[in-house]
Symmetry: C2
Subunit: 258 residues, 2 copies
């Protein structure tokens, strides 16, 4: 067995605090991205503007060249969402692409400790650096549209009206980000208080400590007024159940760890 | 009655797409920030690095000068989290402060339409631009620490060991961001398909359309192994129930709108 793949540590992606919580493991980082319903994509400000631009986008990891690649293998990040004309210009004009930072964070619990300073979140967070290009060939764009649609609900693509018509193909912009470095961070477990507080009965006797688990939960799907399919299809019901069980299992396990 | 306060539209915060979904309303934007458990804070890259830096942080809106100010009034954004030495240097060295972009996005539902192109999310999203400074006086820092702690669970501050000791005060960094511009965007309602699909019985007869509501839900709090308070305090139980009812109400209402 070879070592699991890791992203290179660069000066700007090396985690400097709580290093025990840091990871450069490719599979861990790709999983955080894929389990995040929304990503924040930042790129450098315009010359006349000091503020980085940030777009909320839907994204998922994938490899067009090796579609069967696993989460532990090299993957690109495919992004869908509103692409401003400035991003379009930058992501098509330079041969390397537009440098972007992709951020994904999931909160798994509120960690309530004896003193405010020791309060924390259970969470999983990933920061990825890479170069974004607009996907140009019809083949790759179609492949990426299917990948992203199925990342929202597995099998949704083939269970809806496909393929997109030419107007839809034209109006859809997909960004492919070649990842050059990335880091992840996570915390799990209960509160970690210091002896200065745990030894004080006046503090421990009145302060409830523990974790409030947090789960991004899917509720019972609600049909649209003009829905014509009476029964909720199994592929949707199964995904709702499976995703909820996974998310609940993660958050509750994280809360119960020491 | 005067008009509700609105943030100025700047070139870089003006929403160019789906303008009907855009808001510059101060109260709407402040509410999105306060209901987000995590914020992504971006600032411009180092000279030798093309990638913006992004930090996940906890934050809440507030006014130290007018502590009773409502969400519809001018407020700063107070941020807590890991502050890198570079941010520290930049946010203390320049008189104006470090330009940052704050992003908050909540997903409220998966909107499943007849064709992938018409798929969407119900969501609320805010982007704020401002200048970050490190809070320096003890009085403002203490006030902000209480504000942020109580933004996680109301009344938690007074129900835990306070005040922080001098080591805790020293090690805690709070950023105060003076907001100069901001915009919000939201979507609610069911799928919006086009006649080219809604008139096709072969499509409507096989494609379930509707919304899967998404709620960031608090589960039953789990006491730590060394918790000494037998019953979950009412202020925590009440908050869990109230926050869940509010989040569920929002997502279910958004799903049922046309």
């Amino acid at each position: 067995m070879s070592e699991p793949l890791a992203y290179p540590k660069t000066k700007s992606t090396t985690v400097n605090r709580y290093n025990a919580r840091a990871t450069y493991d490719v599979k861990a980082i790709h999983s955080i991205v894929n389990e995040s319903s929304v990503l924040h994509v930042s790129f450098a400000p315009d010359a006349e503007d000091p503020f980085p631009a940030v777009l909320p986008m839907i994204g998922t990891m994938g490899s067009y060249d090796y579609p069967s690649a696993g989460l532990d293998e090299p993957l690109d990040c495919y992004l869908h969402g509103y692409v401003s004309s400035r991003v379009m210009r930058l992501a098509t004009s330079s041969p390397q692409g537009l440098p972007v930072t992709i951020a994904a964070t999931k909160v798994d619990g509120l960690v309530l400790a004896l003193t405010p300073n020791a309060h924390s979140y259970n969470y999983r967070s990933a920061i990825l650096h890479g170069y974004a290009r607009i996907v140009e060939t019809t083949e790759e764009k179609l492949w990426a549209m299917e990948l992203i649609t199925n990342s929202v609900v597995p099998d949704r693509w083939k269970n809806s009206r496909v393929p997109p018509d030419s107007a839809e193909m034209q109006s859809t912009r997909i960004l492919r980000v070649r990842i050059t470095a990335a880091s992840g961070k996570s915390r799990e477990g209960g509160p970690h208080d210091e002896p200065k507080d745990t030894t004080r009965e006046d503090v421990t006797g009145k302060t409830w400590v523990g974790v409030v688990p947090v789960v991004e939960k899917f509720y019972e799907p609600i049909p649209a007024a003009d829905n014509k399919v009476d029964e909720l299809p199994k592929y949707i019901a199964d995904y709702v159940a499976e995703a909820n069980a996974r998310a609940e299992g993660y958050a509750l396990n994280a809360a119960r760890l020491p």
